[in-house]
Protein backbone atom coordinates (compact mmCIF):
# COMPACT_ATOMS: atom_id res chain seq x y z
CA UNK A 1 0.00 0.00 0.00
CA UNK A 2 1.08 3.55 -0.64
CA UNK A 3 2.94 5.22 2.17
CA UNK A 4 1.27 8.66 2.38
CA UNK A 5 3.69 10.13 4.88
CA UNK A 6 4.79 13.69 4.19
CA UNK A 7 5.91 16.71 6.17
CA UNK A 8 3.65 19.59 7.18
CA UNK A 9 5.70 21.83 4.85
CA UNK A 10 5.08 19.44 1.95
CA UNK A 11 1.32 19.52 2.58
CA UNK A 12 1.27 23.31 2.66
CA UNK A 13 3.45 23.29 -0.48
CA UNK A 14 0.40 21.92 -2.32
CA UNK A 15 -1.52 25.16 -1.71
CA UNK A 16 -1.71 28.01 -4.20
CA UNK A 17 -2.78 31.59 -3.62
CA UNK A 18 -6.49 32.13 -4.20
CA UNK A 19 -7.55 28.62 -3.17
CA UNK A 20 -10.57 27.76 -1.05
CA UNK A 21 -9.29 25.86 1.99
CA UNK A 22 -11.22 24.12 4.76
CA UNK A 23 -9.93 23.61 8.31
CA UNK A 24 -11.32 20.93 10.65
CA UNK A 25 -11.94 21.28 14.36
CA UNK A 26 -14.40 23.59 16.10
CA UNK A 27 -13.73 26.93 17.81
CA UNK A 28 -10.52 26.58 19.77
CA UNK A 29 -10.60 22.77 19.66
CA UNK A 30 -8.41 20.35 17.64
CA UNK A 31 -7.50 22.94 15.00
CA UNK A 32 -4.76 22.10 12.49
CA UNK A 33 -2.54 24.82 13.93
CA UNK A 34 0.80 23.41 12.72
CA UNK A 35 -0.59 23.79 9.19
CA UNK A 36 -1.76 27.34 9.92
CA UNK A 37 1.70 28.28 11.19
CA UNK A 38 3.28 26.70 8.10
CA UNK A 39 0.96 28.73 5.86
CA UNK A 40 2.11 31.89 7.65
CA UNK A 41 5.71 30.87 6.83
CA UNK A 42 4.78 30.31 3.14
CA UNK A 43 4.00 32.81 0.40
CA UNK A 44 0.37 31.64 -0.01
CA UNK A 45 -2.26 34.40 0.19
CA UNK A 46 -5.78 35.44 -0.88
CA UNK A 47 -7.28 32.30 0.61
CA UNK A 48 -10.97 31.68 1.08
CA UNK A 49 -11.09 30.00 4.48
CA UNK A 50 -13.99 27.69 5.42
CA UNK A 51 -14.12 26.91 9.12
CA UNK A 52 -16.06 26.38 12.32
CA UNK A 53 -13.82 29.23 13.23
CA UNK A 54 -11.26 29.58 15.96
CA UNK A 55 -7.69 30.89 16.08
CA UNK A 56 -7.03 29.28 12.67
CA UNK A 57 -9.13 32.09 11.19
CA UNK A 58 -7.63 34.80 13.41
CA UNK A 59 -4.02 33.83 12.73
CA UNK A 60 -4.50 33.62 8.98
CA UNK A 61 -6.31 37.00 8.98
CA UNK A 62 -3.63 38.65 11.11
CA UNK A 63 -0.98 37.21 8.81
CA UNK A 64 -2.68 38.79 5.79
CA UNK A 65 -3.40 35.47 4.05
CA UNK A 66 -7.17 35.72 3.78
CA UNK A 67 -9.43 37.23 1.17
CA UNK A 68 -12.68 35.80 2.48
CA UNK A 69 -13.93 33.80 5.47
CA UNK A 70 -16.88 31.38 5.25
CA UNK A 71 -18.06 30.63 8.79
CA UNK A 72 -20.92 30.35 11.26
CA UNK A 73 -18.91 31.77 14.14
CA UNK A 74 -15.37 32.63 15.08
CA UNK A 75 -14.62 32.08 18.77
CA UNK A 76 -11.84 31.06 21.13
CA UNK A 77 -14.35 29.25 23.43
CA UNK A 78 -12.90 30.40 26.77
CA UNK A 79 -12.58 33.88 25.22
CA UNK A 80 -15.71 34.71 23.25
CA UNK A 81 -14.30 36.79 20.40
CA UNK A 82 -11.05 36.53 18.41
CA UNK A 83 -9.52 40.04 18.30
CA UNK A 84 -7.50 39.33 15.13
CA UNK A 85 -10.60 38.31 13.20
CA UNK A 86 -12.47 41.32 14.60
CA UNK A 87 -9.71 43.68 13.47
CA UNK A 88 -9.70 42.19 9.97
CA UNK A 89 -13.48 42.53 9.65
CA UNK A 90 -13.76 45.97 11.22
CA UNK A 91 -10.84 47.21 9.11
CA UNK A 92 -12.44 45.88 5.93
CA UNK A 93 -9.46 43.61 5.23
CA UNK A 94 -11.49 40.44 4.66
CA UNK A 95 -14.86 39.57 3.14
CA UNK A 96 -17.29 37.44 5.08
CA UNK A 97 -19.88 34.85 4.19
CA UNK A 98 -21.75 34.02 7.37
CA UNK A 99 -23.89 30.88 7.42
CA UNK A 100 -25.92 29.08 10.04
CA UNK A 101 -23.68 26.38 11.56
CA UNK A 102 -25.95 23.69 10.18
CA UNK A 103 -25.74 25.16 6.69
CA UNK A 104 -21.98 24.64 6.72
CA UNK A 105 -22.57 21.01 7.66
CA UNK A 106 -25.00 20.56 4.76
CA UNK A 107 -22.76 22.45 2.31
CA UNK A 108 -19.84 20.16 3.12
CA UNK A 109 -22.07 17.10 2.98
CA UNK A 110 -23.45 18.15 -0.43
CA UNK A 111 -19.90 18.54 -1.75
CA UNK A 112 -18.95 15.14 -0.30
CA UNK A 113 -21.96 13.52 -1.98
CA UNK A 114 -21.40 15.40 -5.28
CA UNK A 115 -24.91 16.90 -5.26
CA UNK A 116 -25.34 20.64 -5.99
CA UNK A 117 -27.28 21.46 -2.82
CA UNK A 118 -29.07 20.07 0.22
CA UNK A 119 -32.36 21.47 1.52
CA UNK A 120 -33.03 22.82 4.99
CA UNK A 121 -35.27 25.17 6.91
CA UNK A 122 -32.22 26.77 8.56
CA UNK A 123 -31.51 30.26 7.25
CA UNK A 124 -34.97 31.04 5.87
CA UNK A 125 -36.24 34.45 6.98
CA UNK A 126 -32.90 35.48 8.50
CA UNK A 127 -30.38 37.91 7.03
CA UNK A 128 -28.30 34.90 6.01
CA UNK A 129 -30.89 34.18 3.34
CA UNK A 130 -30.69 37.80 2.14
CA UNK A 131 -26.92 37.66 1.57
CA UNK A 132 -25.88 39.02 -1.83
CA UNK A 133 -22.60 38.65 -3.64
CA UNK A 134 -20.57 41.71 -4.64
CA UNK A 135 -22.54 42.07 -7.88
CA UNK A 136 -25.89 41.93 -6.11
CA UNK A 137 -26.82 38.32 -6.90
CA UNK A 138 -28.45 36.33 -4.07
CA UNK A 139 -26.01 33.77 -2.69
CA UNK A 140 -28.77 31.45 -1.49
CA UNK A 141 -31.87 30.26 -3.31
CA UNK A 142 -35.00 28.44 -2.26
CA UNK A 143 -36.26 25.16 -3.69
CA UNK A 144 -39.86 23.98 -3.73
CA UNK A 145 -40.45 20.41 -2.62
CA UNK A 146 -41.75 18.25 -5.49
CA UNK A 147 -43.79 16.33 -2.92
CA UNK A 148 -47.04 17.62 -1.43
CA UNK A 149 -47.19 17.66 2.36
CA UNK A 150 -49.16 14.63 3.56
CA UNK A 151 -51.51 16.76 5.64
CA UNK A 152 -51.86 20.11 3.92
CA UNK A 153 -50.99 19.22 0.34
CA UNK A 154 -48.71 22.24 0.33
CA UNK A 155 -45.39 22.12 -1.52
CA UNK A 156 -42.94 23.30 1.07
CA UNK A 157 -40.19 25.82 0.35
CA UNK A 158 -36.72 25.15 1.68
CA UNK A 159 -33.37 26.85 1.52
CA UNK A 160 -30.99 25.12 -0.91
CA UNK A 161 -27.55 25.14 0.69
CA UNK A 162 -25.05 25.08 -2.17
CA UNK A 163 -22.25 22.51 -2.06
CA UNK A 164 -19.20 23.97 -0.32
CA UNK A 165 -16.46 22.67 -2.59
CA UNK A 166 -12.94 23.01 -1.26
CA UNK A 167 -9.64 23.02 -3.14
CA UNK A 168 -7.94 21.63 -0.06
CA UNK A 169 -8.75 20.59 3.50
CA UNK A 170 -6.68 20.03 6.61
CA UNK A 171 -7.69 18.19 9.78
CA UNK A 172 -5.65 17.29 12.85
CA UNK A 173 -6.17 13.98 14.70
CA UNK A 174 -4.59 12.21 17.66
CA UNK A 175 -3.21 9.28 15.69
CA UNK A 176 -2.91 8.31 12.04
CA UNK A 177 -1.32 5.44 10.22
CA UNK A 178 1.00 5.79 7.26
CA UNK A 179 -1.78 4.70 4.88
CA UNK A 180 -3.86 7.75 5.79
CA UNK A 181 -6.35 6.39 8.32
CA UNK A 182 -6.94 8.81 11.19
CA UNK A 183 -8.20 8.38 14.74
CA UNK A 184 -9.86 10.93 17.02
CA UNK A 185 -9.47 9.92 20.66
CA UNK A 186 -11.26 12.98 22.03
CA UNK A 187 -15.02 13.18 22.57
CA UNK A 188 -16.08 14.84 19.29
CA UNK A 189 -14.99 14.14 15.69
CA UNK A 190 -16.65 17.45 14.71
CA UNK A 191 -17.07 17.69 10.90
CA UNK A 192 -13.53 16.67 9.98
CA UNK A 193 -14.54 13.80 7.69
CA UNK A 194 -16.80 16.14 5.71
CA UNK A 195 -14.06 18.75 5.26
CA UNK A 196 -11.97 15.96 3.72
CA UNK A 197 -14.93 14.71 1.70
CA UNK A 198 -15.58 18.17 0.25
CA UNK A 199 -11.96 18.77 -0.84
CA UNK A 200 -9.84 17.96 -3.88
CA UNK A 201 -6.61 17.82 -1.85
CA UNK A 202 -7.13 16.06 1.49
CA UNK A 203 -4.55 16.33 4.23
CA UNK A 204 -4.32 14.94 7.74
CA UNK A 205 -1.85 15.87 10.45
CA UNK A 206 -1.52 13.75 13.59
CA UNK A 207 0.06 13.88 17.01
CA UNK A 208 1.79 10.63 16.07
CA UNK A 209 1.96 8.15 13.20
CA UNK A 210 1.66 4.40 13.64
CA UNK A 211 2.16 1.45 11.30
CA UNK A 212 -0.83 0.25 9.23
CA UNK A 213 -3.21 -1.67 11.48
CA UNK A 214 -1.84 0.08 14.53
CA UNK A 215 -4.95 2.20 15.13
CA UNK A 216 -7.05 -0.87 15.93
CA UNK A 217 -4.71 -1.76 18.80
CA UNK A 218 -6.33 0.86 21.02
CA UNK A 219 -9.60 -1.09 20.81
CA UNK A 220 -12.24 1.37 19.66
CA UNK A 221 -12.31 1.09 15.87
CA UNK A 222 -15.24 3.52 15.68
CA UNK A 223 -12.89 6.30 16.71
CA UNK A 224 -11.06 5.91 13.38
CA UNK A 225 -13.26 8.56 11.76
CA UNK A 226 -10.91 9.17 8.83
CA UNK A 227 -10.11 6.29 6.49
CA UNK A 228 -7.62 6.23 3.65
CA UNK A 229 -10.34 6.69 1.00
CA UNK A 230 -10.52 10.23 2.34
CA UNK A 231 -6.85 11.23 2.48
CA UNK A 232 -4.03 12.05 0.07
CA UNK A 233 -1.24 12.60 2.56
CA UNK A 234 -0.59 12.49 6.28
CA UNK A 235 2.04 14.35 8.28
CA UNK A 236 3.27 13.84 11.82
CA UNK A 237 2.73 16.99 13.88
CA UNK A 238 3.25 16.68 17.63
CA UNK A 239 1.45 19.61 19.29
CA UNK A 240 -0.08 20.10 15.85
CA UNK A 241 -3.32 21.49 17.30
CA UNK A 242 -1.66 23.47 20.06
CA UNK A 243 -2.61 25.97 21.59
CA UNK A 244 -6.12 24.68 20.88
CA UNK A 245 -7.26 21.55 22.73
CA UNK A 246 -6.53 18.03 21.52
CA UNK A 247 -7.74 15.68 24.26
CA UNK A 248 -6.62 13.28 25.58
CA UNK A 249 -3.17 14.43 24.41
CA UNK A 250 -3.53 17.95 25.79
CA UNK A 251 -6.10 20.52 26.85
CA UNK A 252 -6.21 24.06 25.51
CA UNK A 253 -3.17 26.09 26.56
CA UNK A 254 -5.08 29.01 28.03
CA UNK A 255 -1.92 30.97 28.79
CA UNK A 256 -0.69 30.81 25.22
CA UNK A 257 -4.17 31.61 23.95
CA UNK A 258 -4.17 34.73 26.12
CA UNK A 259 -0.76 35.66 24.66
CA UNK A 260 -2.32 35.24 21.21
CA UNK A 261 -5.16 37.58 22.19
CA UNK A 262 -2.74 40.11 23.71
CA UNK A 263 -0.71 40.04 20.48
CA UNK A 264 -3.59 41.90 18.79
CA UNK A 265 -2.82 45.04 20.81
CA UNK A 266 -0.23 46.47 18.44
CA UNK A 267 1.97 45.78 15.45
CA UNK A 268 4.91 45.27 17.79
CA UNK A 269 3.14 42.74 19.99
CA UNK A 270 1.99 40.83 16.89
CA UNK A 271 5.54 40.81 15.50
CA UNK A 272 6.87 39.51 18.80
CA UNK A 273 4.26 36.74 18.84
CA UNK A 274 5.10 35.75 15.25
CA UNK A 275 8.81 35.81 15.93
CA UNK A 276 8.42 33.56 18.93
CA UNK A 277 5.74 31.10 17.79
CA UNK A 278 5.45 31.23 13.99
CA UNK A 279 8.74 32.14 12.32
CA UNK A 280 10.65 29.18 13.80
CA UNK A 281 9.59 25.81 12.36
CA UNK A 282 7.48 23.34 14.38
CA UNK A 283 10.53 22.17 16.33
CA UNK A 284 11.03 25.78 17.28
CA UNK A 285 7.37 26.09 18.21
CA UNK A 286 7.57 23.07 20.50
CA UNK A 287 10.69 24.47 22.13
CA UNK A 288 8.98 27.83 22.67
CA UNK A 289 5.97 26.10 24.22
CA UNK A 290 8.17 23.92 26.42
CA UNK A 291 9.87 27.08 27.61
CA UNK A 292 6.55 28.34 28.95
CA UNK A 293 6.17 25.11 30.92
CA UNK A 294 2.66 24.45 29.68
CA UNK A 295 3.21 21.90 26.92
CA UNK A 296 1.30 18.69 27.36
CA UNK A 297 -0.17 19.86 30.64
CA UNK A 298 -3.75 20.45 31.55
CA UNK A 299 -5.04 23.83 30.42
CA UNK A 300 -4.95 26.35 33.19
Amino acid sequence: MTDKTASVEELVGELRSGMTVGFGGWGSRRKPMAVVRAILRSSVRDLTVVSYGGPDVGLLCAGGRVRKVVYGFVTLDSIALDPHFRAAREGGAVEALELDEGMIYLGLLAATWRVPFLPTRAGLGSDVERTRSGDGVPVFRRVVSPYPHAGTGEHEELLAVPALELDAAFVHVNQADTNGNGQVLGPDPFFDDLFLGAAKKRFVTAERLVEPGGLAQGGDLASVVVNRLMTDAVAPAPLGAHFTSCPPDYERDERLQRDYVEAARSGESWSAFVERYVTPDEDGYRRAVAATGEAGGRGS
Partner: protein, 263 residues
Protein backbone atom coordinates in the same frame (compact mmCIF):
# COMPACT_ATOMS: atom_id res chain seq x y z
CA UNK B 1 -27.18 26.87 58.45
CA UNK B 2 -30.77 26.25 57.58
CA UNK B 3 -32.54 28.11 54.82
CA UNK B 4 -35.87 27.50 56.49
CA UNK B 5 -35.25 30.69 58.43
CA UNK B 6 -35.12 32.59 55.16
CA UNK B 7 -38.29 34.08 53.79
CA UNK B 8 -39.10 33.78 50.10
CA UNK B 9 -38.41 37.49 49.77
CA UNK B 10 -34.75 36.79 50.59
CA UNK B 11 -33.89 35.80 47.00
CA UNK B 12 -31.35 37.89 45.11
CA UNK B 13 -32.08 39.29 41.64
CA UNK B 14 -29.87 36.59 40.10
CA UNK B 15 -31.85 33.89 41.91
CA UNK B 16 -35.14 35.33 40.68
CA UNK B 17 -33.70 35.23 37.15
CA UNK B 18 -32.67 31.59 37.64
CA UNK B 19 -36.23 30.66 38.60
CA UNK B 20 -37.62 32.65 35.64
CA UNK B 21 -35.30 30.75 33.29
CA UNK B 22 -36.36 27.46 34.88
CA UNK B 23 -40.00 28.40 34.26
CA UNK B 24 -39.22 28.80 30.55
CA UNK B 25 -38.77 25.00 30.42
CA UNK B 26 -41.89 24.18 32.45
CA UNK B 27 -43.93 21.47 30.74
CA UNK B 28 -41.27 20.83 28.09
CA UNK B 29 -41.07 17.10 28.80
CA UNK B 30 -38.31 14.99 27.27
CA UNK B 31 -36.47 17.51 25.11
CA UNK B 32 -32.91 18.83 24.98
CA UNK B 33 -32.67 22.08 26.96
CA UNK B 34 -29.76 24.16 25.61
CA UNK B 35 -29.11 27.13 27.90
CA UNK B 36 -26.41 29.71 27.12
CA UNK B 37 -24.96 31.64 30.04
CA UNK B 38 -24.66 30.93 33.75
CA UNK B 39 -28.18 31.88 34.85
CA UNK B 40 -30.02 29.96 32.09
CA UNK B 41 -27.78 26.95 32.79
CA UNK B 42 -28.77 27.10 36.46
CA UNK B 43 -32.39 27.56 35.41
CA UNK B 44 -32.43 24.44 33.23
CA UNK B 45 -30.74 22.38 35.95
CA UNK B 46 -33.16 23.70 38.56
CA UNK B 47 -36.07 22.77 36.30
CA UNK B 48 -34.74 19.23 35.97
CA UNK B 49 -34.28 18.86 39.73
CA UNK B 50 -37.84 20.03 40.38
CA UNK B 51 -40.76 20.19 37.96
CA UNK B 52 -39.13 19.00 34.73
CA UNK B 53 -37.37 15.70 35.58
CA UNK B 54 -37.27 14.34 32.03
CA UNK B 55 -35.35 17.31 30.63
CA UNK B 56 -32.22 16.29 28.68
CA UNK B 57 -29.05 18.30 29.37
CA UNK B 58 -25.66 18.41 27.68
CA UNK B 59 -22.31 18.70 29.47
CA UNK B 60 -21.33 21.51 27.09
CA UNK B 61 -18.76 19.26 25.43
CA UNK B 62 -20.02 16.19 23.58
CA UNK B 63 -22.21 14.20 25.97
CA UNK B 64 -25.60 14.17 27.69
CA UNK B 65 -25.55 14.15 31.48
CA UNK B 66 -27.19 11.45 33.57
CA UNK B 67 -26.89 13.55 36.71
CA UNK B 68 -27.45 17.24 37.41
CA UNK B 69 -24.10 18.50 38.66
CA UNK B 70 -23.14 21.91 40.02
CA UNK B 71 -22.27 24.53 37.42
CA UNK B 72 -18.61 24.56 36.45
CA UNK B 73 -18.08 20.82 37.05
CA UNK B 74 -15.27 19.43 34.93
CA UNK B 75 -16.62 17.25 32.11
CA UNK B 76 -14.77 14.16 33.34
CA UNK B 77 -16.46 14.36 36.77
CA UNK B 78 -19.95 14.31 35.26
CA UNK B 79 -21.96 11.10 34.97
CA UNK B 80 -22.76 10.81 31.27
CA UNK B 81 -25.63 8.92 29.65
CA UNK B 82 -25.08 9.25 25.89
CA UNK B 83 -22.77 10.91 23.38
CA UNK B 84 -23.93 14.15 21.78
CA UNK B 85 -21.24 15.37 19.36
CA UNK B 86 -21.99 18.55 17.44
CA UNK B 87 -23.15 16.72 14.33
CA UNK B 88 -25.78 14.87 16.38
CA UNK B 89 -27.00 18.18 17.78
CA UNK B 90 -28.28 19.10 14.32
CA UNK B 91 -30.41 15.94 14.27
CA UNK B 92 -31.99 17.19 17.49
CA UNK B 93 -32.37 20.80 16.29
CA UNK B 94 -34.00 19.83 13.02
CA UNK B 95 -36.25 17.22 14.67
CA UNK B 96 -37.56 19.93 16.97
CA UNK B 97 -36.86 18.13 20.28
CA UNK B 98 -35.05 21.10 21.76
CA UNK B 99 -35.63 24.41 23.51
CA UNK B 100 -32.69 26.78 23.30
CA UNK B 101 -32.18 29.83 25.49
CA UNK B 102 -29.70 31.98 23.61
CA UNK B 103 -28.21 35.34 24.47
CA UNK B 104 -28.60 38.43 22.29
CA UNK B 105 -26.43 41.48 21.76
CA UNK B 106 -29.48 43.12 20.19
CA UNK B 107 -33.13 42.13 20.31
CA UNK B 108 -35.97 44.04 18.68
CA UNK B 109 -39.70 44.44 19.21
CA UNK B 110 -40.58 41.31 17.22
CA UNK B 111 -37.85 39.18 18.74
CA UNK B 112 -35.31 39.38 15.93
CA UNK B 113 -31.94 38.62 17.52
CA UNK B 114 -28.45 39.80 16.58
CA UNK B 115 -25.17 38.16 17.61
CA UNK B 116 -23.38 38.76 14.30
CA UNK B 117 -22.30 42.39 13.90
CA UNK B 118 -23.03 45.96 14.95
CA UNK B 119 -23.33 48.49 12.15
CA UNK B 120 -23.14 47.69 8.46
CA UNK B 121 -23.00 43.96 7.91
CA UNK B 122 -20.48 44.28 5.07
CA UNK B 123 -18.12 46.49 7.05
CA UNK B 124 -19.15 46.14 10.70
CA UNK B 125 -18.34 48.69 13.37
CA UNK B 126 -18.13 45.75 15.77
CA UNK B 127 -17.70 42.18 14.58
CA UNK B 128 -19.42 39.80 16.99
CA UNK B 129 -19.26 36.00 17.20
CA UNK B 130 -21.41 35.22 14.12
CA UNK B 131 -24.96 33.96 13.51
CA UNK B 132 -24.08 30.55 15.03
CA UNK B 133 -27.16 28.30 14.98
CA UNK B 134 -29.68 31.09 15.54
CA UNK B 135 -31.31 31.05 12.08
CA UNK B 136 -31.89 27.29 12.21
CA UNK B 137 -32.86 27.21 15.88
CA UNK B 138 -35.62 29.77 15.50
CA UNK B 139 -37.16 28.05 12.48
CA UNK B 140 -37.10 24.58 14.03
CA UNK B 141 -37.89 24.58 17.73
CA UNK B 142 -38.80 26.75 20.73
CA UNK B 143 -36.34 29.57 21.38
CA UNK B 144 -36.04 31.89 24.37
CA UNK B 145 -33.54 34.61 25.17
CA UNK B 146 -31.52 35.71 28.18
CA UNK B 147 -30.29 39.30 28.30
CA UNK B 148 -28.37 40.10 31.50
CA UNK B 149 -28.09 43.82 30.66
CA UNK B 150 -31.54 45.14 29.72
CA UNK B 151 -30.82 48.53 28.14
CA UNK B 152 -31.65 50.63 25.08
CA UNK B 153 -28.45 49.26 23.54
CA UNK B 154 -29.68 45.67 23.78
CA UNK B 155 -33.41 46.32 23.20
CA UNK B 156 -33.38 48.22 19.92
CA UNK B 157 -35.96 49.38 17.39
CA UNK B 158 -34.33 47.32 14.70
CA UNK B 159 -31.44 44.86 14.96
CA UNK B 160 -28.47 45.44 12.65
CA UNK B 161 -28.38 41.77 11.52
CA UNK B 162 -31.27 39.33 11.81
CA UNK B 163 -29.72 36.09 13.11
CA UNK B 164 -32.57 34.59 15.14
CA UNK B 165 -35.83 35.15 13.24
CA UNK B 166 -38.53 37.27 14.93
CA UNK B 167 -42.29 37.18 14.51
CA UNK B 168 -42.44 39.88 11.78
CA UNK B 169 -39.90 38.07 9.62
CA UNK B 170 -41.60 34.74 10.29
CA UNK B 171 -44.95 36.19 9.22
CA UNK B 172 -43.47 36.86 5.77
CA UNK B 173 -42.65 33.18 5.34
CA UNK B 174 -45.04 30.60 3.90
CA UNK B 175 -47.10 28.80 6.54
CA UNK B 176 -45.25 25.51 6.03
CA UNK B 177 -41.89 27.21 6.57
CA UNK B 178 -42.84 28.95 9.80
CA UNK B 179 -44.84 26.13 11.36
CA UNK B 180 -42.15 25.35 13.95
CA UNK B 181 -41.20 28.98 14.67
CA UNK B 182 -41.92 29.52 18.36
CA UNK B 183 -40.30 32.31 20.38
CA UNK B 184 -41.22 31.82 24.04
CA UNK B 185 -39.85 34.26 26.60
CA UNK B 186 -37.14 36.84 27.11
CA UNK B 187 -35.68 36.85 30.60
CA UNK B 188 -33.63 39.92 31.53
CA UNK B 189 -32.08 41.34 34.69
CA UNK B 190 -35.20 43.52 35.03
CA UNK B 191 -38.20 41.56 33.79
CA UNK B 192 -39.74 38.68 31.90
CA UNK B 193 -41.14 39.46 28.46
CA UNK B 194 -43.03 37.38 25.93
CA UNK B 195 -44.73 37.64 22.54
CA UNK B 196 -48.26 36.78 23.57
CA UNK B 197 -49.84 39.51 21.43
CA UNK B 198 -51.89 39.42 18.20
CA UNK B 199 -48.99 40.65 16.04
CA UNK B 200 -46.20 38.84 17.90
CA UNK B 201 -44.69 42.02 19.30
CA UNK B 202 -42.90 41.93 22.64
CA UNK B 203 -44.88 42.44 25.79
CA UNK B 204 -44.02 42.79 29.44
CA UNK B 205 -45.07 39.62 31.25
CA UNK B 206 -43.74 40.39 34.73
CA UNK B 207 -41.47 42.79 36.57
CA UNK B 208 -38.80 41.43 38.88
CA UNK B 209 -39.49 42.43 42.50
CA UNK B 210 -38.41 46.04 43.26
CA UNK B 211 -38.13 46.90 39.53
CA UNK B 212 -40.52 49.65 38.37
CA UNK B 213 -42.42 49.76 35.10
CA UNK B 214 -40.75 53.11 34.32
CA UNK B 215 -37.34 51.50 34.73
CA UNK B 216 -38.13 48.80 32.16
CA UNK B 217 -39.74 51.22 29.72
CA UNK B 218 -36.70 53.49 29.94
CA UNK B 219 -34.37 50.55 29.37
CA UNK B 220 -36.24 49.43 26.26
CA UNK B 221 -35.49 51.12 22.94
CA UNK B 222 -38.92 50.44 21.45
CA UNK B 223 -42.53 50.68 22.52
CA UNK B 224 -43.16 47.81 24.87
CA UNK B 225 -46.60 46.29 25.20
CA UNK B 226 -47.77 46.59 28.81
CA UNK B 227 -51.46 45.74 28.42
CA UNK B 228 -54.56 47.77 29.28
CA UNK B 229 -53.67 48.19 32.95
CA UNK B 230 -49.97 48.96 33.41
CA UNK B 231 -50.45 49.09 37.18
CA UNK B 232 -51.52 45.44 37.04
CA UNK B 233 -48.30 44.00 35.56
CA UNK B 234 -47.53 41.05 37.84
CA UNK B 235 -44.37 40.52 39.77
CA UNK B 236 -41.94 37.76 38.68
CA UNK B 237 -42.31 34.92 41.14
CA UNK B 238 -39.76 34.36 43.88
CA UNK B 239 -38.01 31.00 44.02
CA UNK B 240 -39.44 28.68 46.68
CA UNK B 241 -37.43 27.79 49.76
CA UNK B 242 -36.66 24.41 48.18
CA UNK B 243 -35.53 26.05 44.94
CA UNK B 244 -33.30 28.52 46.76
CA UNK B 245 -31.72 25.67 48.66
CA UNK B 246 -31.02 23.82 45.39
CA UNK B 247 -29.56 26.93 43.75
CA UNK B 248 -27.37 27.89 46.69
CA UNK B 249 -26.28 24.54 48.09
CA UNK B 250 -26.42 22.13 45.16
CA UNK B 251 -26.15 23.87 41.79
CA UNK B 252 -24.07 26.99 42.44
CA UNK B 253 -22.37 26.90 45.83
CA UNK B 254 -19.64 29.17 44.42
CA UNK B 255 -22.09 31.98 43.63
CA UNK B 256 -21.25 32.29 39.92
CA UNK B 257 -24.82 33.51 39.30
CA UNK B 258 -24.18 36.86 40.96
CA UNK B 259 -21.23 37.73 38.73
CA UNK B 260 -23.29 37.37 35.55
CA UNK B 261 -25.47 40.32 36.57
CA UNK B 262 -22.69 42.53 37.86
CA UNK B 263 -20.97 43.07 34.51
Amino acid sequence: MSWSALSDAGATRAEICVAACADAFRGAGEILASPFGVIPTLGARLARLTFCPDLVLSDGEAALMADTPPIGSLPDTVLREAPMPYRRVFDVVWSGRRHVMMMATQLDRFGNQNISAIGDRERPRVQLIGVRGAPGNTLNHPTSYWVPDHSPRSFVAQVDVVCGVGYDRAAELPEAVRRFHDLRVVVTNLAVLDFDTPDGSMRLRSLHPTVSLEEVVAATGFELGVGMRPEAVPSTREPSVEELKLIREVLDPGGLRESELRR
